[in-house]
Symmetry: C5
Subunit: 99 residues, 5 copies
């Protein structure tokens, strides 16, 4: 899975019927060492109620269909978790309350 | 999913039978921060009637077969939505009418 | 799918039985803007009788098994179409007869 | 599969139900020639009890669901082995006890 | 599929049960134009008895499970062929006996 930050939203009215009712979030991949954005953006389906600015991870590929929200949907990236804390080499590099 | 702009078409007569009746669009991936083209192009199947110049997103991988148009087809990229609006960090970076 | 040019062949006698009777072509990915090779090569299964120098597109991933030739085969790239014409931003950047 | 080192952990309480009970490890991909980190990090599910600092390999894509721990889970990267030794060009470039 | 050279082996005793009896080879991707290594390494399952120094191709993704050796295994890269010859633009760039 990939660490990312929710940075925006994407709105579409002309879309395939299988996308009805889905919330599309724009996420920016994070460099785990610095927790800064890498400039790479992905449009991900939201399955956890993630909000702007939150650090999440998303799953790519066929597994992005394995959530209650995205089952049977044409997904290739789905946010499956809001991240509380990232620890690296014994140091807390991110904590939700502290951000 | 990946933000992209429809920049052209690809025509083929010698193809596997499973590709009959499919419209192949050439799309250029967009840098979401600037909404400019990155120079990376993909041939995507159209499932929403997207036209030249339109901003869309496409789905990659096995999910590109999960639309009414592409079911059972050898697809790895399918346009599933025409984008109306992209909002990033509280700013509208793209609106269809304004482009 | 990915625009590419057939640049060669790969021959193997020691292979898994599921590869019997398959033609392996070496293809070079093309930059769609210039239709020049990028230097990135892939070994693709041929399902359309593509020949040396021809511009094709191939499908990657699980969909590369969805052709009459490659069904049930361990494929991750299959040529599914010989390209007749590529149009970009209103200009014909490639036409088969003209190349 | 990809050689990587376990460098940390990721904690999440707000997540899809299919992620319950899974341990999320932060792994850094390794350059096999030097066995040094590349700076690329992935969040992987643990299926072998890997610990901090250990060299492992993980599997990506749909196969990351083919372990007793991750079956049916929305995974795209799962640690499936703790590496004891890596030999390259006749030289042992990594041995677990020696690290 | 991807041209690569077998450059080493990876040994693991702590692994998921589905990996029992599998031989893990370290392969280096090749630049087809020069047949030299690119410095990118992958851990691949062997299904053809490939040996050190041999040029092979491997299949990635779900198809890496479609061999007698790897069926049902958590694989994302499997060597499916030992390469005898690579021809590019009318020139033999690699022949097994000649290397």
């Amino acid at each position: 899975m990939v660490l990312a930050r929710v940075v925006g939203t994407v709105v579409s009215t002309s879309k395939v019927p299988q996308l009805g009712g889905i919330r599309f979030l724009l996420v920016e991949r994070l460099d785990a060492a610095t927790m800064k954005g890498t400039g790479d953006h992905v449009v991900a389906m939201d399955s956890v109620g993630a909000g702007p600015g939150e650090v999440v991870f998303y799953v790519a590929g066929s597994s992005s269909r394995l959530t209650p929200v995205t089952e049977g949907r044409p997904a290739d990236a789905t946010i499956t978790a809001i991240v509380d804390e990232v620890e690296m080499n014994g140091t807390t590099v991110y904590r939700k309350d502290a951000s």
